[in-house]
């Protein structure tokens, strides 16, 4: 966990790789040279032979070398709930997942609604020297949905966009003002689209499954109602709005129509919503209690369709650590959320393995697309850019087991799932922050 930076003159050549840069539609054999923290050169001309003598050579054995993943939706729980997760545990989990940059939600304690907390997170993450951590600022003070947070100052301090995290901005008036005000600074607002009075008290998707289990339902319309309302507010304000983790066919259709009409709207989804449906709740499995809830098979297929036709712009892990005391409870009392950093790539690659998307499409949703949404550097190969990379084997099979994940909390909805696609190593600023061969598995 060294936070020492790489010496400026140190050069490493990653050769014999399959170079994948989704932004440039690049998929070819070749190599990449880093110098210090930066990418010096890349392309098919870089081979093991003919390199200067002082260059360290890493043979990638034909595996895929890609820009590191950019995860736009992560909860790290520090400060305030370090028993569930910390910047360090989240950083290690992210690195193991091939993620070189992540953006954390402001729902910490204290809330990231103040410049000092943005700086605290940035400083702590820098010292750890793992995955790069960016922050969302709160839209409203204390995430209370009443008064606007100091978005301008927060942005100056480094907040990349604004959201009330796992809570919707409920008041239409507050949302209108947030969109109007953020527009002044060219900032993006991210909404958790859920109409709270409809979702209130609900435990899982409303439908036959909830009825059988005697659990209270969250109707699918709770999502689309908030989406439709906010689309009107974008129209009114010309603001930029992004919907997080869409889960229903209706909401995706609403965004599809809005995009066709030219509104400045974008959205993402998370692996559970294209890889699982409400049946995962099974016999009261609280690890499958998510917000928004897992929906029907029809909705799951609509999410895949939304990705395929570019209605959905990106995939974020929606990593939500919850400890045993919050999950080993009767379903209604258990906390919402699942972890996702270490399964983000493998579960997303199911879309590729199942023939629903190309390998470059999947990488695009996880790299340059979220980077562009949030104006982050990275997510693509570029000479002179930070050397944030991952090497992965898209076919290697493994089984997700909660105790083998390095996240502090183990609440994965994918426990026992056989998946394909494994990160071999992860590089941040030219430094190896994760290496599968050195990682202790099954500790």
């Amino acid at each position: 966990m060294s936070q020492k930076s790489v010496p400026e003159d140190r050069r490493v050549a990653y050769v014999n790789a399959r170079l994948l840069d989704a932004a440039a539609h690049l998929d070819q054999p070749g190599g990449l040279i880093t110098q210090g923290e930066l990418i010096a050169d890349y392309g098919s001309h870089i081979k093991a032979v003919g390199l200067a003598a002082d260059i360290e050579v890493v043979d990638c054995a034909g595996q895929c070398l890609s820009p590191g993943l950019i995860d736009m939706r992560v909860q790290l729980r520090e400060p305030g709930e370090e028993h569930k997760g910390t910047l360090a545990s989240g950083g290690h989990a992210a690195a193991a997942g091939g993620i070189t940059s992540l953006v954390c939600l402001p729902n910490t304690h204290p809330v990231i609604d103040d410049v000092s907390i943005v700086e605290f997170v940035a400083r702590r993450a820098r010292l750890l020297g793992l995955t790069k951590v960016y922050t969302y600022g709160a839209v409203t003070k204390g995430l209370e949905g009443q008064e606007l947070a100091e978005m301008g100052l927060l942005a100056e301090a480094g907040a990349v966009a604004f959201t009330d995290g796992a809570k919707a901005v409920v008041s239409a008036r507050v949302m209108r003002h947030a969109l109007d005000y953020a527009r002044t600074f060219g900032l993006l607002i991210v909404q958790h689209p859920e109409e709270p009075t409809l979702a209130q008290g609900g435990d899982m998707n409303a439908g036959e499954m909830a009825t059988r289990l005697g659990l209270r339902g969250i109707p699918a319309v709770a999502e689309v109602i908030m989406v439709e309302r906010d689309l009107r507010l974008i129209e009114l304000t010309n603001g930029r709005l992004h919907f997080a983790h869409l889960s229903t066919a209706a909401a995706i259709e609403a965004v599809r129509r809005a995009k066709a009409a030219g509104l400045a709207v974008t959205c993402d989804t998370s692996p559970p919503y294209f890889a699982l449906n409400e049946n995962a709740v099974g016999d009261y499995r609280t690890f499958a209690k998510l917000s928004p809830p897992l929906r029907t098979e029809k909705d799951r297929l609509a999410v895949i369709e939304g990705l395929a036709d570019r209605t959905i712009d990106a995939i974020g892990s929606d990593h939500t650590p919850e400890d045993e005391d919050s999950k080993r409870l009767p379903f209604a009392q258990a906390a919402f959320g699942g972890i996702g950093l270490e399964t983000l790539l493998a579960v997303s690659l199911e879309l590729y393995h199942n023939g629903r998307a190309s390998l470059l499409d999947v990488l695009g949703w996880l790299t340059w697309r979220p980077a562009d949404l949030l104006h982050l550097s990275g997510g693509r190969f570029a000479k002179g850019a930070a050397a944030d990379l991952m090497l992965f084997d898209p076919d290697r099979p493994w089984q997700v087991r909660e105790h083998e994940l390095s996240s502090k909390s183990k609440n994965t909805p994918f426990d026992y799932r056989p998946v394909q696609g494994r990160v071999l190593f992860t590089i941040v600023d030219g430094r190896r922050v994760f290496d599968l061969t050195r990682a202790k598995r099954g500790a």
Binding site: A206, G207, E208, A210, T211, R212, L213, G214, L215, R216, G217, P219, D283, Y284, D325, R328, L329, P330, F331, A332, Q333
Partner: protein
């Protein structure tokens, strides 16, 4: 005395719900219950089938009737019965459901009878203990012994379950009694109707195998059994119904609506009743039609059968030597 031929085994460790039980398993429970009905009517009711066994009634929700019924059942079988009522507030103070389970497990209980306000809580607890667990009602999920006692009552009166038309009326959405009865009666070949305002029906309830009616008069047309459910008065705060007066007018059982049912139709209610809310007092007390008291009697027999069948047989044959 217990007949020696009832050596049939109930192949489940716990009784958590009716969903998933097969017709022979339900028949086994009902037949065993039947034997206890006769015994319970004798002056000497005490048995020794559970001698030396400990039954703990663990109630996380207030209950008088069900708890008493289980207590009586355990005692009549000669077991030691302990009642534990855990107020939800003390659980909130720190001890979790699973802590409680571990504590009781360490006391070597043989059967835990559990009621909990959260759906699935009894299942969760059953995964953490070594003894048999009987679900005495979990949230809006299941209340299997209630469905069994209802079925026993019906079978004794009508001679069968298969082919009967049964209407379940009232707050289906929040009712574990309704769910268990839907599963049981469907499994046994009855045809089911659900009668309720749309606000008191859960999503996709017809998928459980029932015909849904919002007009009680039509719903009761030609039925053999009218099963009423209790309406919690807090449903009004949740804007599910406007008032008791209106609810009774459209969904309360009175003679006028009952006239649509078969002349011999039975009236059932799991209790406790809200007279004048879901059922007219006169109807409830009409013992030519109402079998509400009999349901309570059957409850003890059914719970004796459940306790008996879930208690693993002692290695020595002595236990069966009544």
């Amino acid at each position: 005395m217990v007949a020696a031929d009832t050596q049939a085994v109930f192949r489940h460790r716990h009784l958590l719900g009716i969903e998933g039980l097969s017709p022979p398993e339900i028949l086994l429970l009902l037949d065993r219950s039947e034997q206890f009905v006769e015994q319970n009517r004798r002056p000497d009711k005490k048995q020794t089938l559970l001698r030396g066994r400990t039954v703990i009634n663990l109630f996380f929700e207030a209950s008088t009737r069900t708890r008493t019924s289980f207590e009586l059942a355990g005692k009549r079988l000669g077991g030691d019965v302990i009642n534990m009522t855990v107020s939800t507030s003390s659980v909130r103070k720190g001890e979790t459901l699973l802590d409680t389970a571990m504590t009781l497990n360490a006391m070597h209980a043989d059967v835990l009878v559990v009621r909990h306000p959260a759906s699935g809580a009894v299942k969760l607890l059953s995964e953490k203990v070594n003894c048999a667990v009987i679900n005495a009602g979990d949230g809006s999920h299941e209340h299997p012994t209630q469905a069994l006692l209802d079925a026993l009552t019906i079978r004794r009166r009508m001679g069968r379950l298969s082919g009967l038309k049964v209407a379940i009326c009232g707050d289906i959405a929040h009712s574990r009694v309704a769910r268990s009865n839907i599963h049981l009666l469907n499994t046994m070949g009855a045809s089911l109707r659900l009668v309720a305002p749309r606000t008191l029906l859960p999503a996709a309830v017809e998928r459980l195998g029932a015909e849904v009616f919002h007009d009680m008069r039509r719903g009761l047309e030609g039925v053999d059994i009218v099963m009423m459910l209790r309406l919690q008065t807090e449903r009004m705060q949740d804007t599910l119904i406007p008032s008791i007066r209106e609810y009774f007018r459209f969904f309360g059982l009175d003679y006028e609506k009952l006239a649509r049912a078969n002349a011999s139709a039975l009236i059932m209610h799991p209790g406790p009743m809200n007279r004048g809310v879901e059922i007219d007092s006169l109807v409830a007390d009409d013992y030519s039609r109402s079998v509400i008291r009999e349901q309570v009697e059957m409850g003890v027999a059914v719970r004796m059968a459940c306790l008996d069948l879930l208690t693993p047989q002692a290695p020595d044959a002595e236990r069966r030597n009544v």
